[in-house]
Symmetry: C3
Subunit: 135 residues, 3 copies
């Protein structure tokens, strides 16, 4: 089964989408199987990370912003705004595809894991996700 | 087929699990197909890397430890020990899910490739892995 | 369906292989499904990135070359040439496996996305790719 989702991200940061994915699995009727989540963009990422202490997400963001600077004179791709090239680099260092087993009609995540869309750009963005679920 | 494994990692470092995965494929009876290996943690990673010269793993570890410092004053998530937040960052820079084709009842790895669990924390840890195998 | 491809990369850089993958999907007769692309090497990567402005690929390469230096005294794995250990690190920071949904008999990529093999070594190399396609 294929399902397409459109997610609105309010600003740069990690936004959890675990319940959206589990809902799609429920609709598919799959109890044991495999779920692939694919992001159709290269200036945002998909990430599985801890969803307990919000300080983890805060530190991931500040560490990444220090490694991939917005004002780096190295960039030659500057015509889409100062936050575009750093967003491509952050996407390159993470992923735009996740593949996760399904057990008991849900993602087989660990106790502290959540699925996040990591918006790297500033301001409101609309992001398209394609979900594939199979047994 | 879904199989769950528990791996004990003795300390920080790359620990090869290729034979564990190939054994699960053998048990599934799948000769041609797809294998997904998923780690239910966010302070360790799964990685495919060279399994020939151990100096490669040594250099991956020392390079990563220099990029992601244990004593970085940036961290605000410090209540789980000084090696926890750097472990989340190392997990973010690598992966906790691998999807690999199966050919001849084994992972279709290249000659020099092995599948590793990369433990980022110090001390003995118990890590849960979920394997999905399909044709 | 499994298909094996051999790609010759002319030198370090991002080389697009989207049409090779879509051709394999066409041969498989799959209209809706899942495609996994797997690279049997650990000194090159697979990456989904923007295929519009070539300046994006240029900046990804120069940023990565600055982060992962060819002349780093940290390296102890030096017997395969000065560009080998940095190539393993670049592979570790990116991926050698991509899983992408198939819609309308093609990869369900976003408007600006392409699939690239990222050659990290210098000089001509021959790289093996295994493609798995299922419904």
């Amino acid at each position: 089964m294929i399902k397409q989702l459109s997610i609105t991200t309010p600003d740069q940061g990690l936004h959890e989408i675990t319940t959206h994915i589990d809902q799609a699995i429920g609709e598919s009727g799959t109890s044991i199987g495999l779920c692939t989540v694919f992001l159709q963009h290269t200036s945002a990422s998909l990430l599985i990370q801890e969803n307990a202490d919000p300080a983890v997400r805060h530190d991931l963001q500040t560490w990444m912003n220090r490694l991939v600077r917005i004002d780096d004179p190295l960039y030659t791709h500057v015509n889409e705004g100062p936050d575009d090239m750093p967003s491509h680099i952050k996407s390159m260092l993470t992923s735009n595809s996740l593949t996760i087993p399904v057990v008991n009609s849900r993602l087989a995540l660990g106790t502290w894991q959540g699925v996040f869309i990591w918006e790297h750009r500033h301001g409101v963005k609309h992001r398209n996700i394609v979900i594939h679920i199979t047994e």
